[in-house]
């Protein structure tokens, strides 16, 4: 990746994190941990990979993203606002009555959201449906789905893992935000995914593991998947809460409320300084 492109992506990623922390802390509730761990994947998708038109979110030439871990909407909303799908000021309406930015992503409310998600396991299955529908119509659009490691405990995820390769789907890439934590506990203390890359490979996917906070590595992994003749699976090793050092990889960072946002202003200031320095 060219240095210039990488710099732009780094700025975009910081911007997403700043907006995410700002919107949920100002509101006083929001899914912080997973939004920050997935921010870099969303950066690469909207910063360098996906085709889209903010003026025409339903453009039929667009690539699709289904955020199957639908509670991490804040990171995606931030990216969409930064890219011009709707005004940035609207981010502050999150989770308020009548908002277009609900806690879990909703395709009927938010410009740029391709599929409603929130009941875990369903989004990735819907994404496979989109890929199959496009395939049936001989359309080349790419379909991306982002799942969580906790979400991968849902049986429906494994139905999708089995079906996609058997259906010969090629325009489909699943990115796993493997942040090692779920709401209650560390994932391995509840039900470990084990060697998830190998599992995906055994199911018939082209599967890779990358550092989910290395923008170049994510971008390169997507390119490799696109070149393959089978669906792609990218296990992104991530840190829940990445970008707010006090909250990284600690239990209880899944969703924050009220006083739990203490120190967020300093965290946002630090991200802003980092952004200004690029």
């Amino acid at each position: 990746m060219e240095a210039n492109t990488l710099n732009e992506l780094k700025k975009f990623a910081l911007d997403i994190r700043i907006e995410t922390l700002n919107m949920i802390s100002k509101h006083g509730f929001g899914h912080m941990g997973g939004s920050l761990s997935v921010a870099d994947a969303i950066t690469v998708l909207y910063g360098n990979q996906m085709k889209y038109d903010p003026e025409n979110p339903k453009w039929d030439g667009r690539d699709y993203l289904v955020l199957s871990k639908g509670h991490c909407g804040p990171a995606l909303y931030s990216a969409l606002a930064i890219k011009g799908f709707f005004p940035r000021e609207e981010l502050l309406t999150i989770n308020k009555l009548g908002t277009r930015l609900p806690s879990h992503v909703d395709k009927n409310l938010t410009p740029g959201i391709d599929m409603t998600a929130g009941s875990l396991g369903q989004g990735v299955s819907c994404a496979l449906g989109i890929a199959l529908g496009l395939k049936l119509q001989n359309k080349p659009n790419m379909v991306y789905a982002i799942i969580g490691d906790g979400e991968a405990q849902e049986g429906q995820v494994w139905e999708t893992m089995l079906i996609a390769p058997n259906r010969g789907v090629k325009n489909f890439i699943v990115l796993l935000d493997n942040n090692k934590q779920q709401l209650d506990e560390f994932t391995e203390h509840i039900s470990s995914l084990g060697d998830i890359r190998r599992k995906a490979e055994d199911f018939g996917w082209y599967a890779l593991t990358v550092d989910g906070h290395d923008l170049s590595a994510i971008d390169e992994a997507i390119e490799k998947c696109k070149a393959e003749d089978k669906p792609g699976f990218i296990n992104m090793e991530t840190v829940k809460g990445k970008g707010w050092p006090d909250k990284e990889a600690i239990l209880g960072n899944h969703a924050l409320r009220g006083a739990a946002f203490a120190g967020v202003d300093e965290a946002i200031d630090n991200l802003r300084k980092e952004l200004a320095a690029i």
Partner: protein
């Protein structure tokens, strides 16, 4: 406009009418796609697959994905019909039907075959006795229970042509034809099959409408004039007709191939209570018990859903008039 048939003709199985109509539609419309979870052969045989191998997606035994994948396919502009046994289409797919299909406002047609006692020998695990109860509270869903092959063909065409989530109950039986080939129907409009003055029997589905018509004959022999209505769409339900006939005949009996809890009987009771009709009402259907292996006709007896049971309920309703 509804046209009742005047002669006695043996009908074909409703699942057969469904599959024939879907294949015919798929020939006209390249956006129609059929999704199955390994029970397609029970209703299609090899037919759909043979004509449209690309548009017949047998996903394997994965009902949750059947629903969500259908939702995703519809988001690309295609019109998916997803079929499985009614027990799985409702109980197993409930959250997916709710979130992926209805809440997300996708364009999915869910078809549940063999509802209620029509699954007979498959036994209690396969009897969908509460599929309507599970589907009915879901916002924006349309629930159709075609009572003969003509109504089924109309339902399939209407569902394909109308954006939104439809649930079509498809009995594996076909007894007598009720409607002329060119009969019209309307979503939310019930159809009067037989006029009567003393009591109104509101029924759904091929199996129980036949039983209701037979019950009306029993009542006629006793000098009682019973009206028989095919409710046709359970959601939206024809409130106007329910209230009109409650007022005109003064007693209601509901007859359904479904649990008496949460289905047609409950839906009609809601209408009657909220309209302050105050007429006596009896519900015939599957009581609070699980299904078991038997022929549907045997189960009808076990569950007290025979024409005699319906006639007795009607007499009880009439006796309850003030």
């Amino acid at each position: 406009m509804v046209k009742l048939i005047n002669e006695k003709i043996k009908d074909i199985e409703l699942t057969k009418a469904y599959s024939e109509q879907l294949i015919a539609l798929a020939k006209e419309n390249a956006m129609i796609v059929d999704l199955e979870a390994d029970v397609g052969n029970c209703i299609f045989g090899p037919e759909f697959q043979k004509v449209f191998p690309e548009r017949y997606l047998d996903l394997g035994i994965c009902e949750q994905s059947l629903s969500s994948i259908s939702a995703g396919i519809s988001a690309t502009g295609m019109i998916p019909f997803c079929h499985t046994f009614a027990a799985f289409a409702s109980r197993r797919m409930c959250d997916q039907n709710y979130i992926s299909c209805a809440y997300a406002k996708n364009n999915v047609k869910i078809v549940g075959s063999g509802p209620g006692i029509s699954s007979g020998e498959n036994g209690g695990t396969h009897h969908a006795n509460e599929d309507i109860a599970l589907m009915r509270p879901i916002t924006d869903i349309t629930i159709i229970e075609p009572a003969d092959s003509v109504a089924m063909r109309w339902a399939v065409k209407k569902a394909a042509a109308t954006f939104g989530v439809f649930y079509i109950r498809a009995e594996r039986y076909g007894q007598e034809r009720l409607y002329e080939d060119d009969s019209g129907f309307e979503i939310g409009k019930a159809n009067v099959l037989r006029e009567g003055n003393d009591v109104t029997i509101i029924a759904e589905g091929n199996l129980m409408i036949k039983a209701s018509l037979d019950a009306a004959d029993i009542l006629t022999a006793k000098g009682v004039s019973a009206c028989v209505i095919d409710i046709f769409t359970i959601k939206p339900i024809d409130e106007e007709m329910i209230i009109q006939y409650a007022k005109e005949t003064g007693a209601i009996v509901t007859v359904e191939n479904h649990s008496i809890t949460g289905g047609l009987g409950s839906a009609v009771a809601e209408v009657l209570c909220e309209s302050f009709c105050g007429v006596p009402m009896k519900r015939i259907g599957i009581p609070n018990r699980f299904g078991e292996v038997a022929q549907p006709e045997e189960l009808q007896k076990v569950m007290h859903m025979t024409p005699e049971d319906i006639a007795e309920a009607a007499m009880s309703g009439i006796a309850g008039k003030k």
